[in-house]
């Protein structure tokens, strides 16, 4: 006696993007919090100290936000013109910022007024940062120079004027206090050593460089400019390792995930792409409402913050498992563990006579009905909302099974207005789906045959039937157009092959 064979649900090839580990990881963020700033957000920098406040440079202000606050906990507003590049020192105590007025200001995070002002640049300073020894400040300016300043004495230590265009970005080495890297609109990325007079390494990016980033190991350097993101091997003397062209507008900012496994790039095309640093393939993609100028990841990837040209700061926090529990409220009382193991952990002794209970195959509701040849009930059970909306393939598989058994007509017949309207709405939703179309067209024909007599008695059903007719007509037109296109392409291919032969 063979057991009942359950209805086979065919698995269709999954359309759209594939769900990978990365997709799941990067999707695990809450809906973004939008904070309106006064102008385009050009720089976001996280404090290295807990609780990891972050400084947002926008227009003439620098705001410092707490991790979960929507209001700034502190703001520096003493800029007369646009501020740039508000950056924390590695101890989180000091903040440096450049500005359009060619000044560099140093702030105490707890104070309000600038501690020092460094004058010397003749044009706007777009890039400022601290060196790794914490006693110097780096700066890059539109006057084509980059300079090194001593913090306590406000004196310029050294000046490099090798670039031939605006210096807009740069990064200090975290491991060597003397080394720093700058990127410029003259398409080059230069590595400087403060012990030397001249740059030690020059790399040609090919586009105006908007952002540079060092890997945690500092063996690799990433530069962004134009539509390209390029990765350079520093240990091989600045050879290009890989060139990525995944954006269709200028890439403006770069950022590294906390583990160093993923690289993020934001662009004016409103996308943030996530690359794997092993394969340099795009593993995920975020969409934003406006062009992105700056992006930052909190330590431990707890939040993603992106600043946009329209002055909106988008803050996404990671979902934590504890949060969900809080949302769920009262957790349902579940049976204790010992309920499940009761009697199951008994080890039979040697002479015991074992009597086994026959394993009962678990059947789905529709299979139970089909097993009993109750065809209408089987169809009803797969037309329940959660089945027909979430898994239409199950519904279609059962319809197919009924058709195979030759009892589809019986199952469709004898429905009241409500039942019929459910059936029609399912048809309207799925009849043009190419996976289900062959069988659902049969169903539609049968439904019209069976319920021909009652047309005109119910307004709801009549409306749905008209909608179905419209849908089918539209689909026929569409298919016809597709066939025409196919025919045109065939002629094209035919001419191509004819040319190849002689």
């Amino acid at each position: 006696m063979a057991s009942y064979k359950a209805t086979r649900i065919p698995s269709f090839p999954r359309l759209g993007e594939k769900v990978t580990q990365d997709t799941l990881y990067w999707r695990n963020y809450k809906t973004p919090v939008q904070i309106k700033e006064f102008g385009a957000v050009t720089k976001i920098d996280f404090s290295p100290l807990s609780p990891h406040n972050y400084a947002v440079t926008a227009s003439t202000r620098i705001h410092i936000y707490g991790p979960y606050s929507q209001e700034p906990v502190k703001s520096f507003t003493r800029f007369k013109d646009t501020a740039y590049s508000g950056t924390f020192r590695s101890d989180g105590q000091l903040l440096v910022a450049g500005s359009e007025e060619a000044l560099i200001r140093l702030f105490d995070v707890s104070g309000r007024v600038a501690l020092r002002e460094y004058t010397g640049h003749s044009k706007a300073v777009h890039f400022t940062d601290f060196s790794a020894d914490r006693f110097h400040i780096l700066s890059g300016s539109d006057d084509y120079t980059c300079r090194l300043w001593d913090i306590p004495s406000s004196a310029e230590v050294s000046r490099y004027s090798e670039h031939t265009d605006y210096v807009r970005c740069g990064t200090p080495s975290r491991l060597n206090p003397d080394v720093f890297i700058t990127g410029s609109y003259d398409h080059t990325v230069k590595v400087f050593d403060s012990r030397k007079e001249r740059s030690v390494m020059t790399m040609d990016h090919g586009q105006p460089v908007e952002s540079v980033l060092l890997f945690p190991s500092e063996g690799l350097l990433v530069s962004a400019g134009g539509r390209y993101v390029k990765v350079w091997d520093m240990l091989k003397g600045g050879q290009v390792l890989v060139s990525l062209k995944n954006h269709h507008k200028t890439v403006t900012c770069l950022c590294m995930s906390s583990t160093g496994q993923r690289l993020l790039s934001g662009s004016l095309d409103r996308h943030v792409k996530v690359y794997s640093t092993t394969t340099y393939k795009v593993v995920h993609n975020f969409d934003y409402a406006a062009s992105i100028l700056s992006i930052a990841l909190a330590p431990n990837d707890d939040s993603i913050i992106a600043g946009m040209t329209n002055g909106v700061l988008s803050v996404k926090h990671k979902k934590h498992p504890e949060d969900r529990k809080m949302v769920g409220g009262t957790s349902r009382h579940r049976p204790a563990y010992r309920v499940f193991v009761k009697g199951k952990n008994y080890m039979p002794k040697q002479d015991d006579f074992l009597v086994r209970k026959r394993e009962k195959a678990h059947l789905k509701q529709y299979d139970k009905e089909l097993k009993r040849f109750q065809v209408s009930k089987a169809l009803d059970s797969v037309l329940k909302p959660h089945v027909r909306l979430k898994t239409p393939e199950v519904t279609v598989a059962v319809i197919q099974e009924l058709n195979r058994r030759g009892t589809l007509k019986n199952a469709l017949a004898g429905r009241d207005e409500k039942g019929l309207s459910i059936l029609l709405s399912f048809l309207i939703r799925n009849v043009v789906d190419s996976r289900f179309a062959p069988i659902l067209l049969t169903v539609a024909e049968m439904v019209l045959d069976i319920y021909m007599k009652v047309v005109g008695q119910s307004a709801v059903v009549d409306k749905q039937i008209l909608k179905l007719q419209e849908l089918v007509e539209k689909e026929i037109d569409y298919q016809q157009e597709l066939m025409e296109v196919l025919g045109m392409m065939d002629t094209l291919f035919a001419t191509m092959t004819a040319k190849k032969e002689p």
């Binding site: 063979a2 064979k5 209805t7 769900v19 990978t20 195979r404 030759g406």
Partner: protein, 837 residues
């Protein structure tokens, strides 16, 4: 033409075991069923075939236990004989020659020395009329007896065995034929006939299909064509009979049977559900559903502990009365048609073809046994007439046996065609095929041919469809898919001038693909998908295509519908030779260059075996079978057949099997091969059942010398001495594993005792102690057997003696026998008078 006396066409296994109702022996240990012209004895617990009772020369049509001796069985056959067998030892005891075709056989406990058989009525001109007769079995000695003592019981009966049944205590016999139920009472010697109308207003179809009688109540159950079961009572009167009707089956009731106690009535039909009706409880019933296929016969063991149903798919299911299946005996499943080719599984060397609906069967030709069934369709089978079922239409196995491709098809109307191409991977751990890829609608039209490439590294599958395309499928890895292994996907779609491809074939090394499009053969290179060359031999479409192998691999052979067999040379791209033969089937031998071609000639089929390189056929035989040959296949032999002369050389490494029009599986066997089989079967008889253990080897030497001395001794003693190896003590010693044996000192005593040659009287005492347990059963059986022999009054001479070789009966020399007989005949009456006085 080569002489073909050496080679003959032989039937090879796979005959129907569901032709008549199987019977279960009294002790429920064995099940007997007719299979072609033999009777098979199966064990009910292990499904193993114990004996094959061979002797009839035509289809066996009836099988009943001898009611006076339960270890014997009667069988009847269309060859006009009734035979009595001892099924425990597989011995023919007696043959009764009747001289007419016998269609059925019945035995009643209350009519000793008589069996009832159904014969055609000789008197009337109508050959379709049959009668039930009582055949008195003469009690004369001798293995063959003419039985002419025939007494007609009922006339105009149905020849179907299940339409006749004997009632309570053998008082009456009920037989149904058409719309009439006849009941004959033996005591009154009177027949009552009850008729039903063919149709009533409700559209019932009242024709009788089967009859069963209650074992200890006056009740007859009849099954009808429309699924009704009628229970007839009070039928000893013409007028006042009554019947009640039960209805569950939706189509004809195929079989009815009462349990021996009469508490339950079992019925079955095309629904393949065994229905158990409780007798006298109205319409209360139990079901045993999903038995796999339509029920043809039902039988119950005499003690009621086992039910047994035989099914349309050549299967016998034995179930306990608790509804648990205890055994399934499955023969070769043969439907009306076979859609797949015959294939050989390279791993098991089993024949693969359509089995049960939606399944592929793997049938071992060597053991005449089904190995397993592979469920291809994986859908619940609905047993309903007129339903369009999903059928497996094509199957192919690659050369290593690691991939199986199947095509299933369901067509309700010309527009709605459902085709699924499935690819199955062989799993080493479970030793069976597992579904890897399922492709629905692989082609827009039906798939007309399918083949695997012979290349071991990159297996490729090519399918040709009625939609005018051929498609190549390759195994492709998808590393990014979550946890999924490699699956098959389409690699290339090819077509040729919008013609419809019909055949495809790979060369042996997989470097060339030939596809037949109508009357054109195109040859492609599968690595670049370049069309290399085309051949055509109009008029006539290509019917079969195949590449030569080994030394003939430069040839491509094709047959056309216009009676042409062509051989193209692939090196010169020209026609090498052609001949006008109407070849219906071309089959290459995978192990040699040989090709077998079946050609149709006036109602029968001829066979030619040839090499593409040689003009003369190696072998040819006219009229291998009547009608056409449906499918054929070369199966590799287990070991190369030696001692073949020129004409049988082609059979040395493989065997050719073919299916005839009537779905009979035939093969070609050589004379030398048959001689070998006979020789080996003789050896089997001599072979002892003692396992080869160190003890056995040690004992073997000892026994030889022992036997020589014994022989000399036994000639002197009147009683034959029990051989030492026959003693249960020794047998126990030899068969028990060493670590569970008692201490050696204890054994030694026993061992030496059993080896001693003692005087019979003393030996008896010694033995009794040793083998109390072991021999009791044996002796009992022997007693019963001899008792049975007496009752049946069958003489103990002749073939029966073979069965009692081990029995220590005194053997008398002929002279002594004559002496005794003389003494018996001598008149000793004078002694009595002497004593009286």
């Amino acid at each position: 033409m080569v002489a073909s006396a050496e080679v003959r066409v032989a039937r090879c296994g796979g005959s129907r075991i569901n032709f008549i109702e199987p019977i279960i022996t009294l002790d429920s240990r064995f099940l007997l069923c007719a299979s072609g012209d033999a009777v098979h004895v199966y064990s009910t617990s292990t499904e193993e075939r114990v004996h094959v009772l061979q002797g009839h020369v035509d289809l066996v049509t009836g099988l009943r236990l001898n009611s006076s001796n339960h270890l014997q069985v009667y069988s009847c056959s269309l060859d006009g004989t009734v035979k009595l067998w001892d099924f425990t030892d597989g011995i023919l005891i007696k043959t009764y020659i009747v001289g007419h075709k016998i269609f059925s056989l019945y035995v009643s406990k209350f009519h000793e020395g008589t069996v009832f058989i159904i014969l055609p009525m000789e008197s009337s001109a109508n050959t379709e009329a049959f009668q039930l007769v009582a055949l008195h079995l003469p009690k004369t000695t001798g293995p063959e007896v003419e039985a002419r003592d025939i007494l007609s019981v009922l006339r105009d009966v149905s020849p179907i065995p299940k339409a006749t049944s004997f009632g309570r205590g053998g008082e009456f016999v009920a037989s149904a034929s058409g719309l009439q139920l006849s009941v004959y009472f033996f005591r009154k010697q009177k027949t009552y006939r009850f008729s039903l109308k063919a149709n009533d207003k409700k559209g019932a179809r009242n024709r009788f299909t089967c009859v069963a009688s209650h074992p200890n109540d006056d009740c007859i159950a009849t099954g009808h064509e429309d699924g009704k079961i009628r229970l007839w009572r009070n039928f000893s009167q013409k007028k006042e009979y009554t019947y009640s009707t039960e209805h569950w089956h939706h189509s004809a009731v195929n079989a009815l049977h009462f349990t021996p106690e009469g508490t339950e009535l079992l019925s079955g039909g095309v629904e393949s559900v065994l229905v158990l009706w409780r007798y006298g409880a109205g319409s209360k019933k139990d079901f045993v559903p999903r038995l796999g296929s339509a029920i043809e016969h039902i039988s119950v063991s005499p003690d009621g502990s086992l039910y047994c149903t035989s099914h349309k798919d050549n299967k016998i299911v034995v179930m306990k009365s608790s509804r648990d299946i205890s055994a399934i005996i499955q023969g070769l499943v043969k439907g009306e048609t076979i859609r797949t080719d015959l294939l050989i599984d390279p791993r098991t060397k089993a024949l693969v073809c359509n089995g049960k609906p939606g399944h592929l069967q793997f049938f071992s030709l060597r053991h005449d046994k089904q190995l397993y069934n592979l469920d291809i369709v994986q859908q619940e089978y609905i047993h309903e007439a007129g339903l369009h079922q999903c059928e497996v239409t094509k199957a192919a196995i690659d050369a290593q046996g690691s991939w199986l491709a199947t095509v299933e098809e369901r067509q309700e109307n010309p527009e709605e065609l459902d085709i699924i191409l499935k690819l199955w991977a062989y799993d080493e751990s479970t030793q069976s095929f597992h579904l890897n890829t399922s492709i629905s609608m692989a082609h827009e039209g039906q798939i007309s041919a399918m083949c695997f490439s012979g290349d071991a590294e990159a297996t490729m599958l090519v399918t040709t469809g009625r939609d005018g395309h051929f498609k190549a499928w390759l195994l492709a890895d998808h590393p990014d898919a979550q946890g999924e292994g490699a699956s098959w996907s389409c690699d290339y779609v090819g077509s040729y001038h919008r013609r419809e491809p019909t055949r495809c074939c790979f060369s042996a090394d997989g470097s060339l693909l030939a596809v037949g499009f109508g009357e054109v053969v195109t040859v492609w290179s599968p690595s670049t998908w370049e069309l290399l060359v085309t051949f055509s031999q109009p008029p006539g479409d290509i019917r079969d295509l195949c590449f030569g192998r080994l030394s003939c691999s430069k040839y491509l052979l094709g047959t056309t519908t216009k009676n042409l067999l062509c051989c193209w040379n692939l090196l010169t791209c020209s026609l090498e030779w052609s001949s006008t033969v109407d070849v219906i089937l071309l089959q290459p031998d995978p192990l040699s260059e040989n090709m077998a071609a079946f050609s149709r000639a006036s109602g029968s089929t001829d066979l030619f075996v040839f090499k593409p390189s040689e003009p003369r056929p190696l072998f040819s035989q006219k009229a291998v079978c009547s009608g056409t040959v449906r499918r054929a296949v070369f199966a590799p032999r287990e070991e190369v057949l030696e001692g073949c002369d020129e004409s049988t050389q082609w059979l040395s490494c493989s065997r050719l099997y073919f299916l005839t029009e009537h779905m009979e599986l035939m093969t070609f066997s050589t004379k030398s091969e048959e001689d070998q089989i006979i020789a080996s079967s003789k050896q089997l008889v001599i072979d002892d059942s003692v396992a080869v253990t160190p003890f056995y080897l040690l004992l073997g030497k000892h026994r030889k010398s022992q036997r020589e001395t014994q022989d000399s001794v036994s000639s002197h003693t009147a009683a034959r001495i029990q051989l030492p190896q026959g003693s249960p003590a020794i047998r126990e010693l030899l068969h028990t594993p060493a670590h569970v044996l008692p201490s050696a000192s204890f054994l030694c005593n026993m061992f030496v005792n059993s080896l001693l040659i003692s005087k019979s009287g003393v030996r008896e005492d010694g033995r009794c102690r040793e083998e109390e347990m072991g021999s009791e059963e044996e002796e009992e059986a022997e007693e019963q057997e001899s008792e049975g022999e007496m009752e049946a009054s069958v003489s103990a001479q002749g073939p029966a003696v073979q069965g009692f070789q081990t029995e220590p009966t005194p053997q008398l020399s002929k002279a002594q026998e004559r002496e005794l007989r003389k003494l018996q005949k001598a008149d000793f009456s004078w002694l009595s008078s002497l004593l009286d006085s």
